[in-house]
C-alpha cells in the first residue's frame, strides 16, 4: 500500500497548481491598460531590477522614486490623456542585477501586462533589453544608468535618465589637484562600472599633468575588510584617493583611510552618495572630498519641494532621498507629461517623441532638475551639480554637458 500513498501525496498541490496556472493564464489575455474601480484608467509601468540579493538596497531606492510619483498621481485623481483620466500602476520584476534575468523578466512582463514604459536600473540589463524594445510589443526603455554605452546603441526608444558619468572627471580632477596636489591613489571598486570610471579618471589626471599610483581597487561587494587594500594604497603617499562603489562600503574605505592617518581628499565615484556615507562616517572624515551633490539640498529651485514631499510621505526620520529616488521620481512625472502631450498611453514612439517637449513644459512644482530636453542620442539633458566639501559645507561645482550636444 505504500506505493499508493506516494502516488496520492502530490495530487492536491498539483490540482492547486493547475487551478492557479489557469487563473493566471486567463489573466494574461488582458494586457495593456484597464479601468480601475474609481473609473480612472490604470496604465501599467514596469520596473525590472534588483529587489533581492546584494543590490536589493539600490534597487528598492530606485523603485521608491517610481512608486512615490505613481502614488502622487493616483492620489491627485490621475492625469488626463485624450479626454480620459489615467493613473499608473507599477508592475515589478526582480532580476537580482543579472542581465539575462532582465531579458527573461521583460518578456514575462510584456506578456502579462504589456507596459509601454519599463524602467531598468543597470547598464547590463539595459543592454540586454535594447533591441527587444523595438520589436512588437514595443516599449519605451527608461534607462537608469550613467554609462554612456547605453546611448551608443542608438536605440530610438531609450531615454537615459541620470547624468553621464564621463562628465565628472574633468571638473573633479581640476578641483582636487589644485587643492591637494598632483599624486592620485586608486582604490575603487572593481566592477565593470568601477573599471570604466578608473580608466577615465586616470587618463584625465595624467592629462592635467598629475601622476597616478598603482590600482589597488577591490570588489566592494565581496571584501570583508578594507584595511589591507587601504594600507597598500596609502603606502604610495597619494595626495588624493579615488574611491567609490556602493555608498556604505565606500564610507568604510574612507574611515579606514582616515584611521591610518590619510589627510588628503577623496575623489568619489558618482555611485557613492555623501548623504548615505554620513550615516557611517562624520562630516570631518569627508572634508575636501568631491562627489555627487546630496539630493535633499540639490541647488535647484524645485529640489526643496521634492524633499519636503519625500519626508512628508516617508516620515522625517526616514533615510534621506538620494538621486536614484529623485531622478526616477522625476522621470515618472515626465512620462506622464509626455503621454499627455502625445495623447496616448500605449504608443511608445509617440511618447518618446514628446519627452523633450515634456521636459520643457512640466510644471515648476514637479521640476526637480533644470531640464532642457532630450539629446539626439536619447539622453535627458539638464544642469548637473556636484559637491566639493569645503570646511564642512557642500559647495556646488557645475558639470558641463559634453561639447557639441544637440538638444531636441
Amino acid at each position: 500500500m505504500r506505493s499508493s500513498v506516494i502516488l496520492r501525496a502530490p495530487r492536491l498541490p498539483a490540482v492547486a497548481f493547475l487551478v492557479g496556472f489557469s487563473v493566471w493564464f486567463v489573466g494574461c489575455g488582458e494586457g495593456g491598460s484597464a479601468s480601475g474601480a474609481d473609473g480612472v484608467e490604470v496604465v501599467p509601468v514596469g520596473y525590472i531590477g534588483p529587489l533581492s540579493g546584494g543590490a536589493a538596497y539600490y534597487g528598492r531606492n530606485v523603485l521608491r522614486g517610481i512608486q512615490m510619483a505613481a502614488d502622487e498621481i493616483a492620489e491627485a485623481g490621475g492625469f488626463e490623456v485624450d479626454g480620459r483620466r489615467v493613473r499608473f500602476e507599477i508592475v515589478t520584476a526582480d532580476d537580482r542585477y543579472l542581465p539575462y534575468e532582465t531579458a527573461t523578466a521583460a518578456r514575462r512582463l510584456l506578456q502579462q501586462r504589456r507596459p509601454s514604459v519599463i524602467f531598468v536600473p543597470h547598464a547590463g540589463g539595459i543592454r540586454a533589453v535594447q533591441e527587444m524594445n523595438l520589436n512588437e510589443p514595443q516599449f519605451l526603455l527608461a534607462a537608469y544608468s550613467s554609462e554612456p554605452s547605453v546611448l551608443e546603441a542608438g536605440n530610438p526608444l531609450t531615454v537615459m535618465l541620470p547624468p553621464r558619468f564621463d562628465g565628472y572627471q574633468e571638473p573633479f580632477v581640476d578641483a582636487m589637484m589644485e587643492r591637494f596636489g598632483p599624486r592620485l591613489g586608486l582604490l575603487p571598486t572593481t566592477t565593470a562600472y568601477g573599471r570604466a570610471w578608473t580608466e577615465h579618471v586616470t587618463a584625465e589626471w595624467r592629462r592635467q599633468g598629475g601622476t597616478v599610483g598603482g590600482d589597488h581597487g577591490v570588489d566592494y561587494n565581496t571584501t570583508t575588510d578594507f584595511t589591507g587594500a587601504v594600507s597598500r594604497a596609502l603606502a604610495d603617499r597619494p595626495d588624493v584617493l579615488f574611491v567609490g562603489g556602493p555608498s556604505q562600503p565606500t564610507a568604510l574605505v574612507i574611515r579606514a583611510a582616515r584611521e591610518q592617518g590619510f589627510t588628503g581628499g577623496f575623489l568619489v565615484m558618482d555611485q557613492a552618495k555623501f548623504e548615505e556615507m554620513l550615516a557611517i562616517v562624520p562630516m570631518a572624515a569627508l572634508e575636501g572630498s568631491i562627489g555627487v551633490y546630496p539630493q535633499a539640498d540639490y541647488p535647484t529651485e524645485g529640489a526643496p519641494y521634492f524633499t519636503e514631499r519625500y519626508y512628508a510621505r516617508f516620515g522625517a526620520d526616514f533615510q534621506p532621498p538620494t538621486s536614484e529616488v529623485a531622478i526616477t521620481y522625476q522621470a515618472v512625472h515626465l512620462f506622464a507629461q509626455a503621454m499627455q502631450l502625445a495623447g496616448t498611453t500605449t504608443d511608445p514612439e509617440a511618447i518618446r517623441a514628446a519627452v523633450g517637449e515634456a521636459a520643457r513644459v512640466i510644471p515648476d512644482e514637479l521640476r526637480i532638475f533644470e531640464m532642457s530636453g532630450v539629446t539626439g542620442q536619447g539622453h535627458l539633458a539638464r544642469a548637473v551639480w556636484a559637491a566639493h566639501i569645503l570646511d564642512g559645507v557642500f559647495v556646488p561645482v557645475e558639470i558641463p554637458l559634453p561639447s557639441g550636444t544637440v538638444i531636441q
Binding site: Y57, H216, G217, T224, G228, S231, P249, L252, Q319
Partner: protein, 286 residues
C-alpha cells in the same frame, strides 16, 4: 618594511575572524559530514543580534556579544533538530540541499525583518593604536584577543570535558561512538550549538568593523569552505591555521601583487593544496 608589518597586523585581524567562522564549519562537518552552507547565515544572525541588543535595546557591547552567542547557539541547535535530524541516514545530498535551503530561508528572514539596508553597529572601542608607524584600531585588537580566547576555550572543551571528548569520538567514528554508549543525537545537537557560538562570536566581533546586511555571510562562508578544505575537512587545528594562512595570503598577495587578485590567490592556494595534499594540510589519516 612598515608596510609589511602593517599588512601582517591587518592579516592577523582578518585571519582571526576567518578562523572562527571556519572552526564552526569544520566541527559540524567532522561530526555530521554535512557541509553546512547555512553557517554563513549563523554568522549574519550573530551580527544582527548584536545590532539589536546594542542599538535597539541599548545594552553595552559585552552584553550584545554574549546575547549573540546565546541566541545563535539556540538557532544552531534548532537547525540540527528541525532540519538535519530528520535527514539522518539519508543521502548526504539531502543534507546539502537542506543546508542551502536554510541559508536562503535565513537570508530571506533577515531581509523581511530588517530590510536590505546596511546597518552599522557602534563600538565603544573606536580609538587607534599606533606603534612605530603601524596602525591598528582598538576594535581589531579586541577581535584578535577574543578570537584567541575563544579558540583556547574550544580546545579546552574538546580535550578536557566529556562533551568535547564525545564530539571528537563521534568525529573519528560515528558507529564506534554509538557502540561505547555516546548519545550521538545529543552530541550532534551540542555540536551545532557550539558552531553557532563560534559564528556568533565572529559575527558580533566584526560587526562594528563592517556593515550588517542580510547577505553579509555569503562571502565569508565561501572563504570558510576554502579554509576547511585547505586545513583538512573536520580538522580543528587545520581550520585555525588555514584561517590565518588564507588571510595573510590574501593581504600579502594584495600588497605585493595586486588587490584585484587577492580573491584569485585564495582559490589558487586551494587548488595547489588539493594537488599536493588532497586531504588538506592537517587531515588525520583515515
Amino acid at each position: 618594511m612598515t608596510l609589511f608589518f602593517q599588512q601582517l597586523v591587518n592579516g592577523i585581524a582578518l585571519g582571526s575572524v576567518y578562523a572562527l567562522v571556519a572552526l564552526g564549519l569544520t566541527l559540524v562537518y567532522g561530526v555530521l559530514k554535512v557541509p553546512n552552507f547555512a553557517h554563513g547565515a549563523l554568522y549574519t544572525a550573530g551580527a544582527y543580534v548584536a545590532y539589536v541588543v546594542l542599538t535597539g535595546l541599548g545594552y553595552p557591547y559585552v552584553v550584545a556579544v554574549v546575547a549573540a552567542m546565546a541566541v545563535v547557539a539556540l538557532l544552531g541547535a534548532a537547525m540540527e533538530w528541525v532540519v538535519f535530524r530528520p535527514l539522518e541516514g539519508k543521502s548526504p545530498v539531502h543534507a546539502m540541499i537542506a543546508a542551502l535551503g536554510v541559508l536562503f530561508f535565513l537570508e530571506g528572514a533577515a531581509d523581511v525583518i530588517w530590510g536590505p539596508d546596511f546597518r552599522q553597529v557602534p563600538t565603544p572601542l573606536d580609538g587607534v593604536v599606533s606603534v612605530a608607524g603601524v596602525n591598528i584600531t582598538e576594535q581589531r585588537v579586541l577581535v584578535v584577543i577574543a578570537a584567541i580566547a575563544t579558540m583556547s576555550g574550544l580546545y579546552w572543551l574538546l580535550k578536557r570535558t566529556l562533551v568535547g571528548m564525545s564530539i571528537e569520538a563521534m568525529a573519528q567514528d560515528r558507529e564506534g561512538a554509538l557502540l561505547v554508549g555516546i548519545d550521538t543525537r545529543r552530541v550532534a545537537l551540542i555540536t551545532f550549538a557550539i558552531s553557532g557560538v563560534l559564528a556568533a562570536v565572529a559575527g558580533s566581533l566584526i560587526a562594528p568593523l563592517v556593515l550588517v546586511f542580510p547577505t553579509m555571510g555569503a562571502v565569508i562562508v565561501l572563504k570558510a569552505f576554502v579554509i576547511v578544505i585547505l586545513g583538512g575537512m573536520g580538522s580543528v587545528p587545520g581550520a585555525i591555521v588555514g584561517g590565518y594562512l588564507l588571510a595573510l595570503a590574501e593581504t600579502m598577495a594584495g600588497t605585493y601583487v595586486a588587490f584585484a587578485f587577492s580573491e584569485l590567490i585564495a582559490f589558487a592556494l586551494l587548488v595547489l593544496v588539493l594537488v599536493v595534499k588532497p586531504t588538506g594540510l592537517f587531515a588525520k589519516g583515515v
